[in-house]
Point group: none
Chain length 257, copies 2
DNA sequence: AACTGGACCA
DNA sequence: TGGTCCAGTT
């Protein structure tokens, strides 16, 4: 038996909205410690990893590790029916369940329950090396979203350079070039603070198209954490309060000479 | 001579908006007691019945019963010009009038009047049995609208089950199943109150497409009254304060075996 | 599917 | 008056 209640259901809704453009089908990997999602996007370019630790749920029980294969578009359709302040209770059988049952509870009078048909999804095992990164930047998530959206009008590829003084986003395109520099600072209010932790400067190129997909997770977090090392995928992480995080991985473009 | 003034013209506008997707042409049946509309929808699947009692109008005079055949789309176009707080005064001749004249009066300075061309519409007489129903549920109209809209993503057919404890809306579809249960209650504020009056439980299937058409009448009323008996059409009624009601009838789908 | 404008609600 | 939600549009 798997059963877990999330008080603030819109967190789960936001997660599904954040990944559904990248990932068609994925497993909810439920264990005693967490509900996790790990999946390459449909084009096998980027990777999504979600962690919802058991401690964030108000009730959590998972007798046996289990993978629940969902179609994200269908899940999204059902979550459209989630009320403003509804909680979600997830339920599934232990042995190869056919359905994931979700209870939406809000006002006292209304209870909605939905069965989402599950599917078998082969779990490609994805080794994510947990190595330290050469540069890590924490900044406002809305600002990151705006930068990535804005720069897309100039070109497809964004150069992200991280040094002590700050992080720079640069695009070279037909109509012109652009540079946005975010300076490291120590603002009073956490929202505007920009924190940089680094050993050596790093400069890497990325496809703006994918960075834009990642920023669909912006509603989940006030800040975003960008981690880079030479020649390895960048990590774009949105912490999810009480639960864990959603992380996106994207390999750098190789410099064309 | 027929002449009637409706202080709050947007009630009539809302009625036309509510029925114009179902009914192309219909008669305004004017008598000493009321203005009534009765019509099957174009596909002859459902039935609309409106009653506006003479008492709701601020001036009412109907010398002779008369049927004014209108095209709802054209009526809607004229009503688009109704001002925010305008009253409407309807005027028509007794003997087979060619036009229905409508006066829109709001601020003291502006008066608009429009003549809508009338047409002859054969009045198919529609016997609506006025039998008591086995289950009657009164609930919030907005909530009913939301449920019917939401469930449409899961499938075409909705099972409505009414029992003592509440009313349940269920849909079975390809991507999964859904159940929304509204519990009978005795809320303080009338808006959230759910009242169930019943002899025996009833369970019937309906086309969500039509239930959705009916909810176009939601702006007319804070609550909706759903009445069901086995094997007869459901009645979805929106009371219209001071005037009467708009009722929709829809035959249940026969269980496929 | 994303964006937009419009409507309703707080 | 601003925010949110929904429907229509590209």
């Amino acid at each position: 038996m798997f059963e877990a209640q999330m008080q603030d259901g819109k967190i789960f809704k936001a997660i599904i909205e954040a990944i559904k453009d990248l990932v068609q089908d994925c497993n909810l990997d439920c264990s005693e410690e967490e509900v996790a999602i790990q999946s390459m996007d449909s084009a096998h370019v980027s990777l999504v990893a979600v962690r919802l630790s058991a401690g964030g749920f108000s009730n959590y029980r998972c007798d046996r590790p289990n993978s629940l294969g969902i179609n994200t578009a269908n899940m999204s359709k059902i979550l459209k029916m989630l009320g403003k302040d509804d909680s979600i209770t997830f339920k599934a059988e232990d042995e190869s369940p056919d359905n994931l049952t979700m209870l939406f509870e809000g006002g006292k009078t209304t209870i909605a329950d939905f069965d989402l048909k599950l599917m078998d999804i082969e779990a490609e095992q994805l080794g994510i090396p947990d190595t330290p990164y050469q540069c890590t930047v924490q900044m406002n998530a809305d600002e990151f979203q705006r930068i990535v959206r804005d720069l897309q009008v100039l070109g497809d590829t964004c150069t992200i350079s991280c040094g002590k003084e700050g992080i720079r986003f640069s695009v070279t395109g037909n109509i012109g070039n652009g540079n946005i520099l975010i300076r490291s600072n120590d603002e009073q209010n956490e929202k505007d603070r920009v924190t940089i932790t680094m050993d050596e400067p790093v400069e890497l190129n990325f496809a703006l198209r994918y960075l834009n997909f990642f920023t669909k997770a912006t509603p989940l977090s006030s800040s975003v954490i960008i981690s880079m090392s030479p020649d390895v995928p960048v990590v774009v992480e949105y912490p999810i309060e009480d639960f864990g995080h959603i992380k996106f991985y994207l390999a750098p473009k190789i410099e064309e000479d």
